[in-house]
């Protein structure tokens, strides 16, 4: 989730007199990037990247504060009248732009749209950089474990390290299902050729390569190594188990789309992002009833899904609408607590 900007006192005072929506409406008639506070970016270039992937070059407006190597951003794309928001790992390029790489065959609605349909000049909403990958201090070796799209933050970290000249041993282990799925292979090989302390190894599981938890002791890094892993939830979990007690430190970031189940029984973990609490809530009750059973008193009104008082942001996870029975898993979308039951683990803006 993008970190909200903390407005200063003077910005607060200005906002009281100047409606940002008013400013944005008129300023964006002249230039769609001229907003009062909202970071936005314009698509300026697209180029093919390996098999079935496209790199998009985006120019942000002045409200964007940039990203550190390995960080992510939230990108908002308007499709079919709706703003859909997804996380990407950008690489900052020269000239104040940044790049993201997306695949044609990616699941979901946003990446295929970006890969195929997004037009040069199109404007996207942007979130500030977030993510906790920290390049470990010291000189002990570092191993990066990446699977699928998990390569993008690793590439950004390696680029930053290449600029400093690799003062320690770094190895990248990169898993893909098919060899043609691999991204940035030419760039990574060139980087490894230029820097003798960097090694890059591609594991193609479709061709019989071992999965991360099946690596032999010889293939696995030494015990003084710092490990950073990024990939789907299952991959990161397997890497974490394999690394347990075997390495100097372990950092991981997982991305995964929730597996929607039709189950209406059992319990899920609901994390409340503002208060920092995590609660076990039953799938069979509305979120409002579930939270109240834990003694919480979320703001609410009609308890029947019409007054919108209990609406709050569902950052991730899936919910079931109790009246229509429909499942909703769009991240960063509003949900009414009184008529929504959780179906997967959730993060709520509460």
């Amino acid at each position: 989730m993008a970190t909200p900007t903390s407005p200063s006192r003077s910005a607060d005072a200005t906002r009281r007199w100047l409606d940002p929506a008013f400013f944005d409406f008129w300023a964006t008639r002249f230039n769609p990037l001229w907003t009062w506070a909202q970071p936005r970016a314009r698509l300026v270039e697209r180029r093919a990247e390996g098999e079935g992937a496209v790199t998009l070059v985006l120019r942000p407006n002045r409200h964007w504060r940039g990203v550190g190597p390995g960080q992510h951003i939230e990108l908002g794309v308007q499709i079919g009248g709706r703003w859909l928001r997804r996380h990407y790992s950008p690489s900052v390029t020269s000239g104040g732009c940044f790049e993201i790489t997306v695949k044609h065959a990616a699941e979901g609605r946003v990446s295929p749209y970006l890969a195929r349909d997004a037009q040069i000049g199109e404007v996207f909403e942007l979130g500030q950089g977030f993510g906790d990958f920290a390049w470990p201090a010291g000189t002990s070796p570092i191993t990066l474990l990446a699977a699928g799209s998990g390569i993008t933050p690793m590439r950004a970290l390696l680029r930053a390290e290449a600029a400093r000249g690799f003062d320690r041993d770094v190895s990248l282990l990169y898993w893909v299902r098919r060899a043609e799925d691999a991204c940035f292979t030419a760039e990574l090989r060139a980087m490894a050729d230029a820097h003798p302390r960097l090694s890059v190894r591609l594991w193609v599981t479709g061709e019989g390569a071992p999965r991360v938890d099946a690596l032999t002791q010889a293939q696995w890094p030494a015990t003084d190594t710092h490990v950073l892993a990024c990939g789907p939830g299952g991959f990161v979990q397997a890497a974490r188990q394999r690394a347990e007690g075997q390495v100097a430190s372990f950092q991981a970031e997982a991305f995964s789309t929730p597996v929607v189940t039709a189950a209406e029984e059992g319990e899920v973990d609901v994390h409340l992002a503002r208060s920092g609490r995590t609660l076990r809530l039953p799938r069979g009750l509305s979120l409002l009833e579930g939270l109240e059973a834990h003694g919480l008193k979320p703001r609410h009104g009609c308890r029947m899904g019409i007054c919108n008082t209990c609406v709050c942001q569902r950052q991730s996870g899936a919910t079931r609408h109790l009246l229509s029975g429909q499942h909703h898993d769009e991240p960063a979308a509003p949900v009414r607590l009184c008529v929504a039951a959780p179906t997967t683990d959730l993060i709520l803006e509460l």
Binding site: G81, R82, W83, M304, T309
Partner: protein
């Protein structure tokens, strides 16, 4: 006055009635998409353009004195139109969460702030929750006469109500102020049920909003016109007044026509969805008039549909209305609609008639066994 015949529904019929209306909601929700998004964006653009054009015309007179009156009249009308659109078709509807599904940060029901002296937060409470959940339930829906007027014979008569033909006119002219103070519950303070400190606290956000609105319309824009200060100020005053009277007329036509009913508190105990729909139907009335009336009333011309589906985009109500009406007819329920003069005539009659003591007709049950 004779009441329209409504078939008294059995429990099974009531359930089926609610199910059909729920199914209609599902169909519309599943179909929301680009055309709805385009619609509300067009409304936003209309508000902005008419607003700027209206204010520009008001200034025009300062530089071209011969155009003073024509420009002043056109400017005031356009600014009034802009304020009406912003208030009704944009603000009211967005604050219901009708366009939340678009994920547009500036069109979110929980954060939108509108261009009137009342704060959006108070409105969300008094209107979205109380009025829409407990529509026309005595003692729960403050919108029944707004604590000032006796609209229904079921309200107990007091000599104070003899003044209401005059009070109603003042209220119409000052309507946004009435909305602004509705949630402050000054009456509770007058009756000693709230301390002055409590009232002071709840007043603060309203006072800030009022200051902002007053400075904008009566200081900032008039000062921009320099020596032409006074005509601009008057133009803004008249535009705000137009909006006050128009919103008052539309809102009163929504629930206070001759056939609109009020309900006792007991009626909503363990209320089913079907019963809730039925109560919304019997307490609401539409305005027949077509697309222009629809836009100018923020689609509250489809008050019945709005009360069934307050969170569905208002641009859908006209289409939904055909199906709703058909369902209501099939279940033998009166569908209260009529032209604006007819409906408002009935409202004015109620205000005049119930200024004097009047007796409530025998209550009509909504469902069998009730």
């Amino acid at each position: 006055m004779t009441r329209p015949a409504n078939r008294v529904l059995s429990t099974t019929e009531l359930q089926a009635f609610g199910d059909e209306l729920d199914a209609l909601r599902r169909r519309v929700t599943a179909d929301l998409g680009p055309s709805d998004a385009r619609y509300i964006r067009r409304v936003v653009a209309s508000v902005r353009w008419t607003g700027v054009a209206g204010r520009a015309l008001l200034f025009l007179g300062a530089f071209v004195p011969v155009l003073l009156w024509p420009a002043w009249i056109a400017g005031t009308l356009l600014l009034g139109l802009s304020k009406i659109l912003e208030n009704m078709e944009l603000g009211h509807n967005v604050m219901h969460g009708q366009y939340d599904w678009m994920g547009d940060a500036q069109l979110q029901g929980s954060t939108y702030e509108w261009d009137i002296v009342a704060t959006a937060d108070n409105w969300r409470k008094t209107h979205n929750f109380r009025h829409h959940t407990y529509t026309n339930v005595r003692g729960m829906d403050d919108d029944i006469g707004y604590g000032l007027l006796r609209i229904f014979p079921e309200q107990r008569w007091k000599p104070f109500y003899l003044l209401q033909p005059v009070i109603a006119v003042v209220f119409a002219l000052m309507f946004q102020w009435g909305v602004a103070i509705q949630d402050l519950r000054i009456g509770r303070w007058l009756h000693g049920k709230m301390t002055a400190a409590q009232l002071w606290r709840t007043t603060q956000p309203v006072a800030r909003k009022i200051t902002r609105q007053l400075v904008k319309d009566y200081v900032f824009f008039p000062l921009l016109a320099g020596p032409f200060f006074l005509p601009v100020l008057l133009g803004n005053l008249v535009a705000n007044g137009m909006r006050n009277v128009w919103t008052y007329v539309v809102i009163f036509c929504g629930h206070f026509t001759a056939d609109a009913e009020v309900f006792p508190k007991e009626s909503i105990r363990n209320e089913s969805r079907g019963h809730w729909y039925l109560r919304q139907l019997r307490g609401s009335s539409n305005l027949a008039g077509g697309p222009v009336i629809d836009v100018l009333t923020g689609n509250l011309s489809h008050q019945i549909e709005h009360h069934f589906y307050p969170d569905l985009p208002a641009n859908r109500y006209a289409a939904i209305a055909r199906e709703v009406r058909e369902i209501c007819v099939r279940y033998g329920q009166h569908y209260n609609t009529g032209s604006l003069p007819r409906q408002f005539g009935q409202v004015m009659w109620r205000i005049l008639r119930h200024a004097f003591p009047s007796r409530a007709p025998a209550p009509q049950p909504l469902v069998q066994g009730a």
